[in-house]
Amino acid sequence: MILLAKLALGALGTVVAAGGVISSEGFVSVRVHEKKPGGTHISLIVPAMVLDTGLHFVPKENLQDASEQVRPWLPTIHAAIDAMRSEGDTTFVEVKEENQHVTVATRNGAIVVDVDDDGETVHVSTPLRAIDNAIDQIAAAGPKN
């Protein structure tokens, strides 16, 4: 009985630890809602770590172009992301038109893009740290100088 309890405790601990590791980088959230009758509704919440891990499986030759383009801008991207992370929540861009509303903002360490127009609403939220890591990986995929 005690052995079973220990095993259960171990399994629970592993699950909690795994959950902690998986959620340590936050979550990427995507929601798409088409307003027409019978329109598509998509709601995805994926641990940001999946983005990070997924990039390891992309063949390096497929990332070389992106790598070459992103490398010169790495210091700028890092500086911008660091500054955005140290700032509080900020609405960077807002565009309002007659039938469209777009915002790009930082909320709780994530960059959030919201689009609301006649046809659909789209919400994408990605943790800044995940973006930083992903860009580092893309930059590292190119040939070493």
Partner: protein, 216 residues
Amino acid sequence: MNKNSQLGAVLCLLAAVVVMGAVAVKKTAAAATPEKFIHVRVNDVSKGEMVSVNVPLSLAEKVIPTIHNGNLHNGKVTIGNMDMQDVDVRALLAAVASSPDNEFVTVKEKDQEVRVAKSKGNFIIHVTDLNSDSDESNKSDKSDKSDKKYEKRGQKVDITIPISVVNALVPNEKQELDLVAAIHALSNASEALLVTVHDGTQDVRIWIDSQNDGSK
């Protein structure tokens, strides 16, 4: 004696906690110095459009020095062969800065008025152009009849720049403008409306304040 030393230890501990708390509060207060944002707002009444951009000045201050592209390097923009005709711009600015508030230039024409003044540590430039043809795009768009009521309203530009920012933007001997120094000077300046442009159906405003969403 033993009790007294215990009491002393507790009091010391309490005093330490109070001192640490005071230090923490002071640090928090210092950290709570409001972040300044530069806001750009463009309103087009005829189309019902609004674009708002809000950038923390500290972000700009950190990001701009990392950009090395074209004429921009290390936060400085290299301008071309700018011939200042041996005019010492810094001395000129210092003289203007130390002079009392005044309207330095006023030009009035039939359809145009230009005023350059200094007030409360700021350079102020007003330009009013009553005969502006800046609405040509609206005039040519005959399909949008609602634009017609906005035609011929002319153009009005108001610019208010702190003298400290102008000083920072004076080119050095290498013909470079120090953008980071200008942003730093802006973040040290008080909250202010920097630029307003009214042009037919469009209004543009650029200002500095501590709001993170330009809701002012």
